[in-house]
Symmetry: C2
């Protein structure tokens, strides 16, 4: 039982947000988002109640697109879209638009999200699973596999939120790559020209839940002959600057604020440096600490989602309590891996990771 005083302390203690998604956003973004939900700029209205056709919101959309292009260095060969429905909708969207019934595509199976993408694509054409790490509970990224150059595209999941692995080297192939980058978009520079399509649910590094970024090469479109509902055609959204229907106004606005913050901090190179520092701090402790062990193959360890176990699983409850008492929230591992997962996206500060590391160190002292 808390005393009243302890309860108040707990209630207002600074929390360190390790949720896998929706996930931590920069404090200054949250503050400005909250202010704009009450009163946006000098409009005398909330951002929640203005028309998506107002000049003020069109300016938001234009700047959001421009910042995606600037941060990721996206050429005019690509369209930049802000859609609804999450990455889970892009699993079928990509195949429906880009894979003919008699054509084939390669899919790299590196976890639950890859598997779902594979399942949805099968309804639209031939799916060749080029490699899978399911044999070891997705704890590594497959390498050295063959990819037919007859495939329309190769689909990959660039970071596996649940299993804590990340693809640092793209497969060597001449066919265009489609990537689900939901959980590591904007975490480091990438060469967009290697991809025919990149998609990402916003709710990790880009903004709140409710909007999905799609970057798509325009010349890959219009080649399948099936009937596609208007809302499910990329062309519809390209032709209407993501406003064929009412777009998710506020999630797009908060994504804009987050991208402004990324730019202010120095763009993706600065994010990469920051993310490497945080990941090294935490993985080094996992490797040093006698009580813990990481779950992912070392060379494939994600910089975004750090998965680790207590060697003695009976100690889990005690460690969870220590972490919670230190203000750490959201470190429960996904049920398919167990143990713990600390998601340390762009907005996580090094100080936040240090607090978790300190909890781990103290836990070791107490228990050895």
């Amino acid at each position: 039982m808390f005393t009243n005083c302890e309860h108040r302390k707990n209630q207002f203690m600074k929390k360190i947000n390790f949720y896998a998604g929706p996930a931590i956003l920069p404090q200054e973004v949250l503050k400005e988002a909250g202010q704009s939900a009450i009163s946006f700029g000098d409009m005398g209205l909330s951002i929640l109640e203005i028309s998506h056709r107002s000049k003020e919101f069109i300016a938001v959309m234009d700047e959001a697109e421009a910042l995606v292009r600037e941060l990721l260095n996206v050429s005019n060969d690509y369209a930049v879209l802000f859609l609804a429905g999450g990455a889970s909708s892009q699993f079928f969207f990509t195949a429906m638009n880009l894979l003919g019934q008699n054509e084939s595509a390669g899919y790299l199976d590196t976890g639950s999200w890859s598997s779902k993408a594979i399942k949805e694509a099968k309804a639209f054409g031939h799916v060749d699973v080029v490699a899978s790490s399911k044999d070891k509970n997705y704890s590594y990224i497959p390498k050295g596999y063959q990819i037919s150059d007859q495939h329309n595209y190769l689909h990959i999941t660039s970071n596996n939120t649940i299993f804590g692995t990340e693809i640092f080297h793209l497969p060597e192939t001449s066919i265009p790559i489609i990537a689900d980058m939901s959980s590591n978009i904007f975490s480091r520079p990438i060469d967009v020209n290697r991809f025919s399509c990149i998609y990402a649910g916003a709710q990790k590094n880009m903004g709140p839940a409710g909007v999905t970024l799609v970057i798509i090469r325009k010349d890959v479109l219009g080649k399948v002959d099936r009937v596609i509902p208007s809302m499910l055609k990329y062309e519809t959204h390209i032709d209407n600057q993501s406003s064929y229907n009412t777009p998710p106004v506020f999630p797009i606005y908060v994504s804009l604020l987050t991208m402004r913050w990324i730019k202010k901090l120095g763009g993706l190179k600065a994010m990469e440096k920051r993310n490497i520092e945080k990941a090294e701090l935490l993985y080094n402790e996992i490797d040093r600490n006698s009580l813990f062990v990481g779950t992912a193959n070392k060379e494939d360890r994600s910089r975004m989602n750090v998965c680790f176990l207590l060697k003695d699983s009976t100690m889990e409850k005690a460690f969870s309590e220590d972490a919670e008492n230190a203000g750490c929230v959201g470190i429960e591992g996904h049920r398919s891996v167990g143990g713990f997962r600390a998601s340390i996206y762009n907005a996580m500060e090094l100080d936040g990771v240090q607090i978790l590391v300190d909890v781990m160190k103290k836990f070791e002292s107490k228990n050895t």
Copy 2:
């Protein structure tokens, strides 16, 4: 040119929001939404950065569903869903899930949104347009038409945002009705049992852009045999309480706040009374004022979107300026009707309508 002082006055003047959507929300909802975007409850985190699997957000979802059921009196024969993609996605969603390739459905064509629903449904089965008011630029609701009882369903648009008409009496038919209620949901009591499906983009009476309410009779599902992607099956979302993938957290939360406000003010009967008062005030002025004329057939006039013209269209700019100077925003008519449109959804106060009426009265005095 404004002087500095006038500019400041204009900037901070209370605005009366007549946007057609996204649209006015109650001030207390906006304030609480903004506060929660900074710090939600006693979590020490923003609502924008918490997991959709957290107990706090599950409580939001549960209460939102319970309030939909309570306000609209929805029985357990129906599922209540919060989906992404807007009503524009429901145009194909409904047909894809409920209309077999060799089956037929009736569609009532009362405006642009009906026409889009018709277009999308044609890809999935036979569409019988039972009646249309296109002959008079959708200025009335067709009556007295025949509906085959062989159809799977009859699709209607209950309120036509663009043309300012509303259906007050449901067509007499024994077949189930599907209704796009985007622009008049929660504006008055309805008998849900007359419908097999009701859908509504939130961004008028329910909340901000980014979430779509779907109320669907469970026993109409599972009867078509086409392959449907997981994300496009109602069953997927029913089986997962709208959280098969990450739902649009914040739009759902603000919708919950809006529904709490509706309940606090007395529910849908109170909303209906309030909406009738506002609509009568504005339509009475349109009919009384020698300079203005309404565009919709009187008995079909929408209580949500009031469309009117200046008899002398050369006076439009002057009237727009007067309205703007009085703080009225968003009264430009849609390009397919021209003139003016004042959207007076639930959250609009009678005082706000009175300000517009006063502008009309003064404009008449000045110009006659």
